[in-house]
Each structure stands twice: as C-alpha cells, then as structure tokens.
C-alpha cells in the first residue's frame, strides 16, 4: 500500500519546525510503523535528503524509547501498543498520516520527532525508589506480599516511561507516570516507610519540571501502551493528602528545600 506522511521536521531545539509531506509507495502490511519509517529514511538517504530522526531502541514495546503522535494520538490508533509494535495492517492504502513529536513544556524537542524526557528521570530521582543499600536485604521470603497486592503492584510497575500520558494530556500532567510508581511501591510492604516522603517529593519535583496538574480527563489512560489504570492517580492523591495531613511540619521543610513555594495539598 501507499501512504502519505506529513512529518514534523525541526533541525534542533533552537530553530523553528514545520510539517513536510512525504510519500511512501511500497508499504507492506506486516511491517511495523518504525520499519515503514526505516523504508522512508532509506529512500531519503538515497535521494540525498536527511533522514527523519526518531527515538527507538528495543522495538519490542518495552524500553519506552519510541513514541510520537499519529494523527493527534500518542502511539497511534491501536490501544495498548507502542509505535514499534504497531503494524501497518491497521492502516489503509492512500491514508494520510500526521506525525508529530510529544508536545509538552517539560519535554523540549531535540530534533524532528525526538524529545528530551529527562524530567521523568528527575521525578524518579526525587523519590521514586526504596532506599536499600546493596547487601542489607533480608531473605526474600521474609517479606510476604499478598498475591493480589503483588499483582496490582506489577500492573502499575509495567510503566515504560515513554511519556505518552504527558503528550496526550491537555495539561501535560505527569500524574499517570508518577501515580504508577507511587502505586507500585505503595502497594508493597517494602515501600511503606518512605511512602509519604516519596509522594511529597515527587509532586514537588513535578511542579518544578513544569508538568501540569491532573484534572481527571483520562486521555493518559486511553493512550498508555501498558494500559496503566487511572486509579493510580487516585492513589497518589490519597497518599499526598495523607502525607500533607500527617507530616505538615516535615512538609514545610521539604517545600523550602525543593521550591520555596507552598504545595497545593498542604494549603490548610
């Protein structure tokens, strides 16, 4: 089949970008979307034009490196699928597709369809972990975890950090991403000691990174390639409220450290 692509081309962060039209005449329906772009890039190189830059690595839907908008939808039209696992059999001959990078203030564009998602790493660095020094752990079976909890923790831990949730959210909120980590660790006994500190630190960091707030729209859940449920955001909010109630004093110190501004949840 033949496809018409309009792709966002932007040489670097400083210069302006624009949509450029390309035709890909020989698309096979068993190709993945990225393999289709490989074919386009091979054609471009042959014609002496610079290939389209896009992020990708494992091409198995697990590394979270790939992702862009196809006709305004993060990772394209198939639910629960990253772009590298999206196959061309879901498109029709002659279709026009508009490919754009994630757009969010916290994710500046690097080039073409490539953005900088380091803000996600800083959210994790702020509190998305359990502090355990190498070597100090007790026997694995000393910590019992009810199967239901461990399964639900795994559901949340499946997040691949691709950024689709932020890209699709009208507020560019990172709540689904943060909620997933907070739910994952908060559902396990190991995650309890730092539970309050974690949520407070991550929320404060998100504000610094200029991610927006959650207004319960749910676009994030709809496009999440790992189908992380919106309930993780509820969990985050609940943890945050609890933390702001029980740790008001400690919170003030944290705020002063992180941003110097009061946090929404602690305004009492």
């Amino acid at each position: 089949m033949r496809l018409i692509l309009h792709i966002w081309r932007q040489p670097n962060a400083q210069e302006k970008g624009r949509m450029v039209r390309y035709e890909v005449p020989n698309v096979n329906e068993d190709m993945s979307f990225l393999e289709m772009l490989d074919v386009l890039n091979e054609n471009l190189i042959e014609n002496g034009q610079e290939p389209v830059a896009f992020d990708h690595d494992c091409r198995e839907g697990i590394c979270g490196m790939c992702g862009f908008m196809i006709n305004g939808v993060a990772h394209g039209p198939v639910r629960g699928t990253t772009i590298c696992q999206l196959h061309m059999r879901h498109f029709r001959d002659g279709q026009e597709l508009y490919l754009e990078p994630w757009r969010a203030r916290a994710f500046p564009i690097v080039k073409d369809l490539v953005v900088n998602r380091s803000a996600f790493d800083r959210l994790i660095a702020a509190g998305g972990f359990i502090s355990v020094a190498t070597g100090s752990a007790p026997d694995g079976n000393a910590i019992l975890v009810p199967k239901e909890n461990s399964d639900r923790a795994m559901d949340a831990a499946a997040c691949i950090g691709c950024g689709a949730c932020v890209a699709m959210c009208p507020n560019a909120s990172a709540s689904l991403f943060m909620g997933a980590k907070i739910a994952h660790l908060g559902l396990l006994p190991q995650g309890q000691p730092e539970r309050e500190r974690r949520v407070v630190a991550m929320v404060a960091q998100a504000r610094q990174e200029m991610f927006g707030s959650c207004t319960n729209i749910g676009e994030c859940e709809a496009v999440c390639p790992k189908e992380i449920k919106l309930e993780v955001i509820g969990r985050m909010n609940r943890d945050f409220l609890r933390a702001s109630w029980s740790r008001r004093e400690a919170l003030r110190d944290d705020e002063a450290e992180v941003s110097g501004k009061p946090l929404a949840g602690s305004r009492r």
């Binding site: 670097n12 096979n28 068993d30 190709m31 993945s32 393999e35 490989d38 074919v39 890039n41 091979e42 190189i45 042959e46 610079e50 290939p51 830059a53 990708h56 690595d57 494992c58 091409r59 198995e60 839907g61 697990i62 590394c63 979270g64 490196m65 696992q85 196959h87 490539v114 900088n116 998602r117 380091s118 790493d121 994790i124 660095a125 998305g128 972990f129 359990i130 355990v132 020094a133 190498t134 070597g135 752990a137 007790p138 694995g140 079976n141 910590i143 019992l144 975890v145 199967k147 461990s150 399964d151 923790a153 795994m154 831990a157 499946a158 950090g161 660790l185 396990l188 190991q190 995650g191």
Partner: protein
C-alpha cells in the same frame, strides 16, 4: 603475555570469602577521593554505578539512550535464577554451579561460576527489598518456574517482564544516588575511546549525541557494562542501538577479547516476515515449560496445524530427549529446529519455523492459567503476527540473542588493561560456550551489585594515581582518533546507506558463522569481510554534520567496528576445531549429531590481542581446569 586469572584455589565453597578477605580495602573516608567511570546503565552497569555511588566513590555513568532506564536488559522476559531451593526440589548452590558449568559445555572458569551461584541468592533478596514485584503464591511467598537446561524450579519472575522489573530496581537505586549527587549521569552520550595512560585505564572519550561535542572524562578506573555484540548479525533480538563500540575500542587499546565465537542462538523467536525486517522478537524460553515443539512428520506438509493429526506430528524434542524434553538447553533446541527445517519439514510460508503449541497445556490447565503465566507474550505475538496463539500454535525460529564471548577478565573482573573492569554480558567470564536461560540477569546483577564493588577497591587502594588533565598527550591522541573517524565517515559521501552495509554483513555472518559453521564457510567469510570493509569506507553515505543529533553517524561508527569484530569472530571460530555450546562446527559432531568437544586440545579460553586493522590477532590461551565438575559429553536424553 601471561594471563593470570587470579582465581583462588582451595575448597570451592570458600574461595570467594577467602579472596574477599585478602583484598585491600579503601577506607570509607577515602572513597570520595576516588573517581570511577561506568559505561552502560543496564543490569550490570546500573547496579554497579548505584552500588559504587552508595559506597561513596565519585561516579560518572554514561549511556547512549535518553535515560538509563532504557538499557536492553529491560527486554529480558523469562526470569532470574537463584539457588534458593524454596521448592524443596533438590536445588542447591552446588547444583546451580554444576548446571551452569555443564550448560556452558565445560568452557567456563569453575571459580567464577561457583561465586555466581553463591551470590544468586543475595540478588533475589536485594531485588525484593527494592520493591521488584516478583510473582507470588497465594500465601504471599515467592513463586518459581522451571527453565531450559534445569530440572529444578529455581527461576524467579515478574510476569513476562522480569528484566524490566529488575532493571527498574537498579535504575531507581541509581536515580537515588543521582539525586544524592553521588553519581553524575550522562544520558545520550556514547563512549568512543578508552584513554590509557602509562598502561592503565584512566578515562574515556565521549560524543554528546545531541550536540556532537567530543569530550574526555578522566577517572582512576573505568567500568564497561556495555552489553554484547549480537547486533553484528543485523537481525538479532538485541535493541537497535546495542553495539560493540566500547568493547572494540577498548580491545584496540589493548584489552584482550575472549572467545568471540561463542554466540548464542535463542530457539524461540518470531520468524522473519520480510526483507524490511529490522529486528527479531524473542518469545521467552519459559514458554517451553507449557508449549510443545513439533513439526509435521512428512516433508512439505502444508496443511494448517489443526488438520494435522497427532500421529502425523513429530514432537522431535520429546522424542529425542525424553528426560529434558522441550526444556533442553538453548543450543540443543536451536540446532534441532534448524535440522528439521533443513529436512524440509519447517512450517509457515518460508518453511523456516517450527510450531510451539499450547493446545495441551490449555486443555490441562485452562486458558486463564496460561493467560496469567504468559499473557503479555501471547499479546505480543498476536500484535506482531496477527495470529491468536490461544487458537493456533505459535511459529518460532532461532535467532541470535546473546554473546558469551567478551573482553577477557580475571576473577576480579579486571581486563588485561589495569583499571579497566568489564561486567555483565560485555565480559566473557561465567557462561562458557553456552548460557543457560535466566542466567544473564543473574550474572549482570551479581557483577554489578556484589562482585565489582568488592574487587575494585583492591585496585584503587593499591595504586598511586598522579593527577592528569585533559591536556595530557594520551587524551589528545584519543580525541584526535575519535574526531578522525567521525570526519572520515562524514566526508566519504558515498552512495549507500549504513543500514544496507549492516544488512549485508549480518547476512554473511548468519550464513557462515551462525548456528552451524564449517572451516570452508568461515574461510569464505574471512575472504569477504576485508573487501566489504573497504567498500564500506569508500561508499558509505552519512548525511548531515557531526555537530548535531545524527543517527546515521552513530550507526556508521558502530557498523565500522562490527566489520573489524566480525573478522575476529570468524578467526576464532575457525581456530576452534571442535564443537562446544553455541559454537557448532559441522566437522565435529557425534554420530547422533551432538556437539563433539575436544577437551584434549581446546579446553582453554581463547584471548585475542589486537595487532592493527587487517593484521592477524595474536592468540593467548588461559587453560581451564575442572576440579569439581568433570567434563563429560553433555547429555539431555
């Protein structure tokens, strides 16, 4: 060159303890005065950087991806082995050690393997404490499954995403150290050379992949956790970015490369569908627990699988290996798949596939149990092939998956260049000629969490380091080298894309140095590679500049290294006149078609020394001794 493995002697159970006791220690207050560079952020690199940061060293960590969480360890599906014997089914540290030495076809160091088996139990504890959501029984206890090459249930797993969860555990530990300013992270930064001063590794030259800036970073020790070189075959289960550049350039600076021909073919991958194919997707080996492998009994039987009656199916693994059945090690499963396809009994359009059938397991256990065990794998299969594996058997075929070879290291994980450590898949040390399933994650984390943090201190404590600056002649020379390669690639302005060259090289390697090899085929490949390499340097087309994000340029540098490394792989494969593990030479097989080792002549580690591009490398041998597990012909019958 004398290769000293530094492997301790004496009773094997206490070797690691005694060795650790004899290592020099760095005083806690002095640790912050020592700087360490870690390249790579996968299970090995990420866990090492986190643990070293925790100990108080000044650590810089580098990865080419946009975040350390993306390293390809993340794609490991099936699980991680540990000798916990939680199932009371006869497992022990000694049995894991025994299985690993035997699985590796008696081509690994006993001391290293025993240590790996010992540490395996600590890894599970560490990961549970970090919050890795391992599968649980209803009682809340950890669940296990069995895996290829083993008769006990010792594999811990987190659905079909064990690698992801273990990596996120290490990544979170690493981010914690980054947040605490103990580790500085450099994402989208690629190591392009090793800086060696007075014979010791003192730093690396990097390229910032966004700005193109070439920069040098200096330290007192350099750790490579940069993974394997399976991408040399173009089509492999590796990530597109996985590459051998850090290893190869360290090799060119003097680090010996050990057993390069030991490459592992994974038996259960989704078959190739067309010429545009960019990579192969693995279906976890754990599927062989419940799936049965078969092909039609008759040649060229093209009926749909459901129409082929039981009596006309050949469950060839169960038939040939009754005691291990579908759970034979990877090399055995792969070669048998190739053999039945060569006989013309392969299935699917290309005839290059065999069935992996879940019909019986679904009947026995119910669809929900199968969904719970392998749901995400079944979904992935359906997404790629548009076939529902609950209804139709999967079609699978072997693909390049892992490389057991890598830079030579001693028991301390130090390469032949003092101060250069190599961990995880990047080194050669623990898997011999064949790696067992669920052992890669174990080795990466053992090296990063528990071995390296103990051994690196010995080197730092026993050396004196004079101050060097980025103006040092060795630094400038390395930077010149790197800029020279970049410049040459950009100025060639040829006619063919990097990928077209890479595909061509990959096909040559798969055809002549893949699942089975012959002296004739290897000689043919060795005659082709130098020509292909010259052609690459004459005709490659890399557009754009070096001062920007330029993905073609990144690929070109990696492929240039693959050309040189592929020659070494073939040389090693030709030199090893025996079959062992993943290295199968057709001339050397038993009457039943199994690998025939030649212990009298080849019971050694082949460590190669670089002598200039196009010159033959020099072979050094580290003899292997087996005091505990006596070499026998592997039998899985």
């Amino acid at each position: 060159m004398q290769l000293d493995s530094k492997a301790p002697g004496g009773p094997i159970e206490t070797r690691w303890d005694r060795h650790r006791f004899n290592l020099k220690l760095v005083n806690p207050a002095n640790k912050r005065k020592h700087s360490i560079i870690v390249v790579g952020s996968g299970l090995a690199g990420g866990s090492a950087a986190a643990s070293l940061g925790e100990l108080g060293y000044q650590v810089k960590c580098f990865c080419f991806q946009d975040s350390p969480r993306r390293a390809h360890s993340i794609a490991a599906q099936g699980g991680i082995n540990a000798a916990k014997n939680y199932h009371n089914d006869g497992d022990s540290v000694y049995r894991l050690f025994y299985d690993t030495v035997k699985g590796g076809d008696f081509r690994s160091r006993e001391s290293n393997v025993y240590r790996l088996a010992q540490i395996s139990v600590n890894i599970i504890d560490q990961c549970v404490a970090q919050g890795v959501p391992f599968a649980r029984e209803y009682s809340g206890y950890l669940d296990n499954r069995s895996f290829g090459g083993a008769q006990v249930s010792r594999t811990f797993y987190a659905r079909g995403q064990t690698g992801q969860q273990l990596l996120l555990g290490a990544y979170q530990a690493l981010e914690r150290q980054i947040g605490a300013s103990n580790v500085r992270m450099f994402p989208r930064t690629e190591m392009l050379d090793l800086i060696v001063v007075d014979g010791r590794a003192r730093g690396i030259v990097t390229r910032d992949l966004i700005t193109g800036k070439i920069e040098s970073h200096l330290a007192e020790a350099v750790v490579l956790g940069t993974g394997g070189y399976g991408n040399i075959y173009y089509l492999s289960t590796n990530a597109k970015g996985s590459n051998a550049t850090a290893l190869w350039r360290a090799h060119k600076r003097g680090a010996l490369f050990a057993n390069p021909c030991y490459t592992q073919i994974h038996p259960t991958c989704i078959p190739v569908s067309g010429h545009y194919q960019s990579k192969l997707t693995l279906m976890s080996e754990s599927l062989r627990n419940d799936g049965r492998v078969w092909v039609p009994l008759k040649k060229g039987d093209k009926r749909p699988p459901a129409e082929i009656q039981e009596s006309q199916r050949d469950y060839y693994l169960e038939r040939k290996y009754p005691s291990f059945g579908n759970l034979v090690p990877r090399d055995v499963a792969s070669r048998n798949a190739k053999a039945v396809c060569d006989e013309g009994r392969g299935v699917g359009e290309t005839g290059l596939a065999v069935y992996l059938d879940f019909r019986d397991a679904i009947q026995r256990l119910g669809k929900h149990v199968i969904r719970e065990r392998y749901g995400n794998l079944f979904d992935m299969y359906e997404r790629i092939t548009a076939e529902d594996p609950y209804q139709v058997p999967m079609r699978i075929f072997p693909a390049i998956h892992y490389t057991m070879g890598g830079l030579w290291v001693d028991y301390n994980l130090m390469s032949s260049i003092p101060g250069l450590y190599v961990i995880g898949e990047a080194n050669f040390s623990d898997h011999g000629a064949n790696r067992l399933g669920a052992s890669a994650l174990m080795q990466g984390l053992a090296d990063g969490y528990f071995v390296l943090p103990n051994t690196i201190g010995d080197y730092l404590a026993s050396q004196k380091f004079e101050e060097i600056t980025t103006g040092h002649p060795a630094v400038l020379e390395a930077e010149m080298q790197v800029s020279g390669i970049t410049k040459r690639l950009l100025e060639t302005r040829g006619t063919r894309s990097v990928d077209s060259f890479h595909r061509e090289l990959g096909k040559l390697m798969w055809d002549f140095c893949g699942m089975s090899r012959t002296a004739e085929g290897l000689r043919h490949a060795l005659s082709q590679i130098p020509e292909m390499r010259d052609q690459f340097w004459r005709e490659v087309r890399v557009l754009g500049s070096g001062e920007e994000l330029n993905q073609s340029l990144e690929k070109a540098g990696r492929v240039a290294d693959f050309y040189e490394l592929s020659e070494l792989i073939c040389t090693d494969a030709l030199d090893r006149n025996e079959s062992c593990g993943g290295h199968f030479r057709e001339e050397y097989q038993t009457p039943e078609g199994e690998a025939a080792r030649d212990d009298a002549h080849y019971s050694y580690v082949a460590a190669w020394e670089f002598r200039g591009v196009g010159n033959p490398e020099e072979l050094h041998k580290e003899p292997l001794h087996f005091e505990y597990v006596h070499p026998t012909q592997r039998s899985y019958k």
